[in-house]
């Protein structure tokens, strides 16, 4: 069965410093992986999606993620954090059934200090 593990429940960074949110996946075949973000009192927004076309995936708001099969990882990074990046981030894998049956990680709350 497909699953994802987010290694940190909270990550704190200072504005202007790099962001690293870690995610490991488990899948019996080449997975579809996503990162979603939820800002307070808002819906989930898709940041980026990996579907085997390229291992480095660029998303919105300067975020990117690299698919590493050897490490079964899909970590999310951003070179320089902004205050508006403070939110909860979810690593997600799609069960390959032809529609979006998503399996979510437990989430990582990103805190950005001035």
């Amino acid at each position: 069965a497909q699953s994802v593990t987010q290694l940190d429940s909270h990550v704190s960074v200072s504005e202007g410093t790099p962001v690293l949110l870690r995610c490991n996946y488990s899948s019996s075949y080449s997975p579809s992986l996503f990162w979603y973000v939820q800002h307070p009192n808002k819906g989930l927004q898709l940041l980026l999606k990996y579907t085997s076309a390229a291992t480095l995936v660029k998303g919105i708001n300067g975020f990117e993620a690299e698919f590493k099969k050897s490490e079964t990882s899909f970590h999310l990074t951003k070179p320089s954090a902004h205050m508006s990046d403070a939110a909860e981030y979810f690593c997600v894998v799609s069960v390959n059934t032809g529609f979006q049956k998503l399996v979510f990680g437990t989430g990582t709350r990103l805190l950005v200090s001035p």
Partner: protein, 113 residues
């Protein structure tokens, strides 16, 4: 275009009562999903509609939950009778095709006391 809309945004009910949550998907989106996040847990899939048909309801926790999508437009999720463990945030999402990205609503926060 208008996004996915969910009503109400918050609901507080007593154990044993009935609550109905509503979701209006993006116009033209045939695929509609319900997910929920109970306190302290991860977001989990409940079910998936294509138009008015349930394609997969394997995530529905028990028979106290009933989802409908009459006419293939908006959907309702009824919990009857509500239990304490039903508290959480219920998300609705829609998509144009089966494998296109999901658009999520802001969720309904349900509190059962």
């Amino acid at each position: 275009e208008a996004g996915v809309t969910q009503f109400p945004s918050h609901s507080v009910i007593e154990k044993g009562q009935t609550v109905t949550l509503r979701c209006d998907p993006i116009s033209g989106h045939d695929n509609l999903y319900w997910y929920r996040r109970v306190m302290g847990k991860e977001i989990k899939f409940l079910l998936h509609f294509v138009k008015e048909s349930k394609q997969d309801e394997s995530g529905m926790p028990n028979n106290r939950f009933l989802a409908e999508r009459t006419g293939g437009t908006y959907s309702t999720l009824k919990v009857q009778p509500a239990e304490l463990e039903d508290s959480g945030v219920y998300f609705c999402a829609s998509s144009n095709t089966g494998d296109s990205p999901l658009h999520f609503g802001n969720g309904t926060r349900l509190t059962v006391t």
